[in-house]
């Protein structure tokens, strides 16, 4: 089979993006530099869109991406999107069983469904639920969650099972790592998503990308007007059907001799197999005489044709966007009635456990920007970052939060901000991070070991990096924790270390808007005793 340079390039690029992102997401030993995930994730469509909406650096990448789509079509879907590449891998595995090799004929597009998912997402963004909708449907973020939540702990467990053998064989560089399993709720959603996508791609190739994925549909809209589109050269075409047999998008209508550019993912499989040079890129921006617009071409690109039905459809979409914006806005207001005027502590019930990472500035901004790709969760060395269920409310589903039952935020670490592609967690230099107050500890003396048992403990003070918690003399030569909230950054080291059960004696409450802690500066310490001689 002749190999086409276009296809080879596409496969090579796909391998680079897929491998790089997979490494960044499964990296349970923190081998990969923060830049790897950060740079690769910045090439993704939805993080780019979030950057565009926030005016961050990634805007440029997004603009380049749109221009590329306008030039040569949906190459994002075939070469850059890791979820798309994952589906190709699943299809390949399925096709490895020759008896079951599936022939996917041309199929009509599910236009209405595509529009619902795309414009529903747009409506959500307009209504201020963009963070929720994008997190739910972004293919890159869904891929991230699959790898981070499902593959990472599995690989960690596999690593652990060979450590004993490796060490016995003299390889000391392997060690066991506690498998980073998330809770059942946080596992369930990526697992269900993976199952759906796997089944769809095994049965129907890129059906997910061309039906559900709003990024696929948006890029499809652009690609229909691309300068270069894959087209059939009717003079050369022998209608052998090789292109059709190799199309994963079911977008080649061989009878009509047309290709649905809105669904073509630019994989070049067809170009690669055609022995007659009957299919390939054609420049479409030439002025065409009106008579050249033949009926079959118009039928194939039925989305472009203007007709009354289509106008009515577009109008109903516009109405739908407006209406759902209103509904979603109301829902948002109902969930968090006090968000507008309470910059202080989140105090109510579970909400107080919604602590977002340093650099994210406020819970609101964080939820608006984060697409929940879990790159920070994979990169967090202590695993204090865990996917939330409803701690932030529904709109914060699966977004990272600091869980002080798992661990605490390492005082010397700024990695989550370094990897985040959405600018949801801003980059902080270490000095700024160390005074960023993401929450404040509360000490409950009535539950404290020192008070209750009359024995020393002070595990909280031991772990406190800012010395917001020290100890003071207490009865019977004991030391009782003593808290200065102004120095507290809310890192959770105290809460993690507190041994009291079931409710700890020191608990951190998150700040809905981050503040700045006071930094205590002390003079150089002096020697405790005269040291010219031996004190014993």
């Amino acid at each position: 089979m002749p190999r086409n340079p276009l296809k080879l390039t596409r496969v090579a690029v796909a391998v680079i993006f897929f491998t790089g992102l997979t490494i960044a997401f499964v990296d349970f030993r923190q081998f990969a530099p923060a830049r790897l995930g950060h740079v690769l994730a910045h090439t993704q469509f939805v993080p780019g869109l979030v950057n565009l909406m926030t005016g961050a650096v990634g805007t440029l990448v997004f603009v380049v991406g749109v221009i590329v789509a306008l030039a040569i079509g949906r190459i994002y879907c075939s070469a850059i999107c890791p979820l798309g590449i994952l589906q190709d891998i699943i299809t390949r595995i399925r096709n490895a069983f020759p008896a079951k090799k599936k022939f996917l004929p041309f199929a009509k597009p599910h236009t209405a469904l595509r529009q619902v998912f795309l414009w529903g997402t747009v409506a959500a963004i307009v209504a201020g639920w963009g963070g929720f909708a994008l997190a739910l449907l972004d293919p890159y973020s869904n891929f991230g969650r699959i790898v981070s939540t499902l593959a990472r702990p599995v690989l960690t467990t596999a690593n652990n099972s060979v450590v004993g053998l490796a060490n016995a064989a003299g390889i000391q560089n392997l060690y066991r790592v506690t498998p980073p399993w998330a809770g059942v709720g946080a596992l369930l959603l990526p697992a269900i998503f993976l199952t759906v996508v796997a089944v769809m791609s095994a049965l129907r190739g890129r059906l997910y990308c061309n039906t559900v994925c709003p990024v696929g549909t948006a890029l499809g809209l652009i690609s229909r007007f691309a300068a270069f589109r894959i087209a059939i050269d009717k003079a050369a075409c022998t209608k052998c059907g090789d292109c059709l047999r190799n199309c994963k998008a079911q977008c080649i209508d061989l009878r009509a001799g047309t290709i649905d550019a809105s669904r073509c993912v630019a994989c070049y499989n067809c170009v690669g197999v055609c022995e007659h040079h009957g299919i390939g890129y054609r420049f479409h921006w030439k002025k065409q005489p009106a008579s050249a617009k033949s009926a079959p071409a118009a039928a194939a690109t039925n989305l472009t044709t203007t007709n009354p039905q289509r106008r009515a459809f577009l109008a109903s979409i516009a109405g739908g966007v407006a209406a759902s914006s209103v509904v979603l806005n109301r829902a948002r207001a109902a969930i968090s009635p006090d968000k507008a005027d309470t910059p202080a502590l989140v105090r109510s019930g579970e909400a107080s456990r919604a602590i977002c990472p340093p650099g994210s500035k406020s819970v609101d901004q964080f939820l608006d920007r984060c697409t929940s790709c879990h790159l920070c969760i994979s990169a967090c060395p202590t695993h204090v970052l865990q996917p939330a269920l409803f701690e932030y409310g529904l709109e914060g589903l699966l977004k990272p939060r600091l869980d002080y039952r798992s661990a605490y935020c390492l005082f010397e670490c700024t990695r989550c901000g370094e990897v985040c592609p959405d600018n949801a967690i801003g980059v902080l230099d270490l000095a700024a991070k160390q005074i960023t107050q993401i929450g404040v500890a509360d000490f409950h003396q009535s539950r404290c070991i020192v008070e209750v048992n009359g024995t020393d403990c002070a595990a909280c003070s031991e772990h406190c990096p800012t010395k917001a918690i020290t100890t003071k003399p207490f009865r019977d030569n004991l030391r009782l924790p003593s808290l200065d909230q102004s120095l507290c950054v809310g890192c959770g080291a105290c809460e993690y270390a507190c041994p009291v059960k079931p409710t700890k004696a020191i608990l951190v409450t998150g700040r809905s808007v981050h503040a700045q802690a006071v930094k205590l500066v002390e003079k150089k310490a002096t020697a405790p005793a005269a040291t010219n001689d031996f004190p014993f």
């Binding site: 661990a407 041994p499 031996f534």
Partner: protein, 314 residues
């Protein structure tokens, strides 16, 4: 064939049998931690404690070991050695939160030159362990010197072990290196501690235990002393070159340490901590776990009954 593990087991059983009479007599009532309990009378030869000051770390360690009969008094050819430094916190050597890497490296070199079959180094760190091992400087220094640096955060390497002579601590999950190695050397750093006022040799051994969180609930000082009834280190070396004198045990900045240039060494873990307490201007009896360990006859805190050898370098 008699394995090392059998030997430890037999010795522990023997030790338990021998001390049951004493311990039973002393602690039959609930008196062990009260101030009124009498100091045990000195018996047998005085334990040796070496205090060296005003040198660099390597010179002071060499001097202290020479005074104790050289490293070969502790490490025989073919033996396995475990070194337990303090690698608790993710901070650089100059912050004084961890044992200085120079000491760990030099000790590793000495053990290997005495013919040790292997030297292992680990700690159950407080902060995230990979970062802590790296930033403490100990991982690289120890590896360069020929030691095997072992993961202290791998629960499967810890074994549930009965502590029959513990007053409150009856069992603990202990790192297998401590249970299985022929020679156990404890190399803490001297620091202020907000919970226990100071930390040195005895407190450092919390890092060989997996489930130490329960100690905080159970009676921290008593558990620290109880652990010593299982296995005491053959040798303790305290790095007091620049002790952290406030904000311990984690410390905030380099301003929390004071350069004092001391090093202590002794096979008696209680005596060495008593001397360390005095360096931080405490009376040993003020530090509850030192007092308890002394009363449990795990060592001597009354330095007048200790053979202290003082050396001033320079």
């Amino acid at each position: 064939m008699k394995t090392r593990r059998d030997f430890v087991r037999t010795s522990l059983a023997l030790g338990a049998t021998l001390s049951i009479a004493d311990v039973g007599g002393l602690f039959a009532a609930d008196a062990p931690t009260t101030a009124a309990s009498p100091s045990p009378e000195p018996t047998g030869p005085k334990p040796v404690l070496v205090a060296v000051r005003d040198g660099d770390r390597v010179a002071m360690l060499d001097k202290a070991l020479a005074e104790l009969g050289g490293i070969q008094a502790f490490v025989k050819p073919g033996q396995t050695v475990v070194i337990k430094p303090n690698i608790g916190w993710n901070s650089a050597p100059e912050r004084g939160a961890n044992t200085h890497p120079t000491i760990v490296a030099h000790l590793t070199t000495l053990c290997l030159s005495a013919g040790a079959k292997s030297v292992s180094v680990f700690d159950n760190t407080c902060d995230q362990w990979q970062e802590t091992y790296a930033n403490s400087g100990i991982e690289k220094a120890a590896k360069d010197a020929g030691a095997t640096v072992v993961n202290g955060k791998d629960e499967s390497l810890y074994r549930e072990t009965a502590i029959p002579n513990g007053i409150k601590l009856k069992s603990a999950k202990i790192h297998s290196l401590v249970l299985d190695s022929d020679v156990f050397i404890n190399v803490p750093v001297l620091k202020h501690h907000h919970a226990t006022q100071m930390t040195a040799s005895m407190k450092n051994l919390m890092g060989i235990v997996w489930d130490r969180g329960t100690w905080h609930r159970t009676d921290l000082h008593q558990c620290i002393a109880d652990l010593l009834t299982l296995r005491k280190p053959a040798l303790n070396i305290i790095d007091a070159y620049h002790p952290m004198v406030r904000n311990g045990p984690r410390g905030k900045t380099v301003d929390d340490v004071v350069e004092m240039r001391w090093l202590l060494a002794s096979p008696d873990i209680v005596a060495i901590d008593a001397a360390a307490a005095k360096l931080l201007n405490h009376q040993p009896s003020e530090i509850t776990h030192i007092k308890i360990a002394h009363e449990m006859k795990l060592g001597r805190m009354d330095l007048e009954n200790v053979d202290v050898r003082r050396h001033k370098l320079t």
